[in-house]
């Protein structure tokens, strides 16, 4: 399965990474090389094999349904590129 320029642009868009035409063009052979190489996995017989979900057997823990932290608004906002009135600020999303 080989991917073309349109597919690269679509993946970039799904990844929320803007790319120029030249960058996308350069990525076509790069991504095809890598994807062509990983496709050898298709030859492995996996009949009856369950996909791995945990490398080391472990139990899913439940914690007490109680507040464990909070009241740290200043900490949460401390690294925001733009914070206003105690909130994260973003460009307008509704016209």
């Amino acid at each position: 399965m080989s991917i073309d320029l349109q597919t690269v642009k679509k993946i970039a868009s799904l990844s929320r990474i803007s790319v120029t035409d030249a960058e996308a063009q350069a990525m076509v052979p790069e991504l095809n090389n890598i994807l062509g190489w990983v496709e050898q996995l298709g030859e492995v017989d996996v009949t009856g094999i369950q996909p791995m979900t945990a490398v080391i057997p472990n139990t899913q823990r439940l914690r007490v349904d109680a507040v464990t932290d909070g009241n740290v608004r200043e900490h949460v906002l401390a690294n925001a590129p733009q914070a206003e009135h105690g909130f994260f600020a973003v460009p307008k999303v509704i016209e």
């Binding site: 993946i11 799904l14 890598i34 492995v44 973003v90």
Partner: protein
């Protein structure tokens, strides 16, 4: 007088307790070495004041007769993937440049609580994605090693924990933290003639470590001796309710139980790790390693791990898939960089921020991961890879029915020159061919130096153990260390 910066962690700990020197003298010695080694570019941020403050506290505690922490008086380097409260944490990316965490990662917090002091934040491959430390936004880390014969070419310190490996082998710190997703502790350790262990997945909390591939990421120590690794891992490991994959198990006394007597142990030699064309010097060192373990009393048997050749392609589906999901958090809203072109809406801001904030290798992996998880391709790539991963894990289970540990080379070559493999991502990925399988199976694995090649560069041997059996891994590492007698160190040029 002893040069304090030549001491191991255990020697510093014990000498400080015995009153041979003060913690402050040790911290000052390493601070001076760090300040004089800019040419290696091993640190992104230097924190000499933190090292001195911890040393001052250790000296005061000792003077007052208080109980000393396990690492009192020991300064260390911290890979810049661990969040450190009040100290910039970047994962070597532009995206997180200027990010100053308001909290401390569990592992780094345990080290400070044990009395260790921080010399600085160590450079790495960007978001820990790389095998040569050439993807850092803050520039390449340079290995202190040079090839013999007047060859002045700058060599890779390995990656992704390349700042850690370079700094330890150059005596800028006696030990450092590393993280290992597919070999990022073991391969840089091998390239620079030091030791490092990736424990069983779940031993060390991942909380507060910048995430790359969550089912693979594990923290571990890097240092010059096996003993130092054992004692550091004891401090770093332990259950953490804040990491849902943390193992709720007591931490063994790995240091106290160190023993290089391997009588009664069986070492497996996986034949698939000896492909046609394996570097002859690597093969010869491996044979020496087998003889050393035999000399330590172990039996040696051949074993087979039939799916070994599929480990790398499996890894390069699973790791990018998890990375694409983990790195979705960098949106220019909550932390990190924001790139807001004139008149841009929210979606444009995301795309511009991520285009400007991520380097080429990070973008490549996010896009591969996005593709293999996208509708229509998920089963063919991701589900298939998770099935092959189960087979790789089963190979190890079967091998461990016949043996207690495995011995292999750590990397297929000695350190290469910077730039040598940059043009071809696949050639770079092949560096991790021997380290990735144990990562996929979550097993403890360690690299110890075995000797020098004909060009005077260090080569490492890898020991892989059963899940939770770090002790046998460390013991075999000690047996090799005692017999290899590796004392080579790079000549100072920086």
């Amino acid at each position: 007088m002893t040069n304090l910066t030549d001491l191991t962690v255990a020697e510093i700990r014990d000498g400080f307790r015995a009153g041979d020197f003060s913690a402050r003298e040790v911290a000052e010695g390493f601070n001076a070495n760090v300040a004089a080694a800019k040419a290696l570019n091993a640190f992104i941020v230097e924190t000499p004041e933190k090292a001195l403050a911890a040393a001052g506290a250790a000296d005061a505690a000792k003077a007052a007769g208080e109980t000393l922490g396990a690492l009192a008086g020991v300064p260390i380097g911290m890979k810049d993937l661990f969040c450190t409260e009040g100290v910039q944490t970047t994962a070597a990316s532009h995206m997180l440049e200027g990010f100053v965490p308001t909290y401390e990662s569990t592992v780094s917090g345990k080290l400070w609580a044990a009395g260790a002091g921080m010399l600085g934040k160590l450079n790495l491959d960007q978001f820990a994605m790389g095998s040569s430390n050439e993807t850092s936004y803050f520039g390449n880390v340079i290995s202190p090693w040079k090839r013999g014969g007047g060859d002045n070419a700058a060599l890779a310190p390995g990656g992704s924990s390349g700042g850690s490996s370079s700094a330890i082998s150059a005596r800028l710190c006696p030990a450092a933290t590393g993280t290992d997703t597919g070999g990022s502790i073991r391969q840089p350790a091998a390239f620079t003639g030091i030791s490092g262990i990736k424990p069983t997945y779940g031993r060390c909390s991942r909380w507060g470590i910048v995430a790359f591939a969550s089912s693979l990421d594990q923290a571990g120590p890097m240092a010059r001796t096996v003993r130092d690794n054992a004692l550091l891992l004891e401090v770093m490991a332990g259950f953490d309710p804040k990491d849902s994959t943390s193992l709720d198990l007591a931490v063994p006394q790995w240091e106290a139980n160190l023993s290089s007597d391997l009588r009664g142990k069986t070492v497996g030699i996986p034949r698939e790790y000896r492909p046609d064309g394996l570097n002859a010097e690597i093969a010869a060192l491996w044979d020496k390693g087998i003889a050393w373990l035999r000399d330590a009393g172990a039996n040696v048997v051949d074993v087979s791990l039939p799916h070994t050749k599929y480990a790398l392609p499996t890894y390069y589906i699973i790791a990018p898939a998890e990375a694409s999901s983990n790195l979705a958090r960098y949106d220019g809203v909550r932390y990190g960089q924001r790139d807001l072109p004139d008149g841009a809406g929210l979606q444009d801001m995301y795309a511009a921020t991520r285009a400007a904030g991520f380097g080429p290798e990070v973008k490549r992996r996010i896009m591969i991961g996005t593709y293999v998880l996208s509708a229509g391709f998920y089963d063919a790539y991701y589900t298939q890879a998770q099935k092959v991963r189960a087979l790789i894990s089963r190979d190890f289970d079967r091998a461990f029915e016949q043996c207690d540990l495995l011995l292999t080379p750590t990397a297929p070559s000695a350190a290469f020159t910077l730039g040598e493999k940059q043009a071809d991502p696949l050639a770079m990925y092949l560096n991790d061919v021997f380290t990735v399988p144990a990562s996929l199976a979550g097993l403890p694995a360690m690299s110890v130096p075995g000797g020098l090649d004909s060009q005077g560069l260090p080569l490492g041997l890898q020991i892989i153990g059963k899940a939770l059996d770090e002790q046998t891994v460390l013991n075999a590492g000690l047996a090799i260390e005692e017999r290899a007698g590796f004392v080579a160190r790079p000549d100072k040029w920086w």
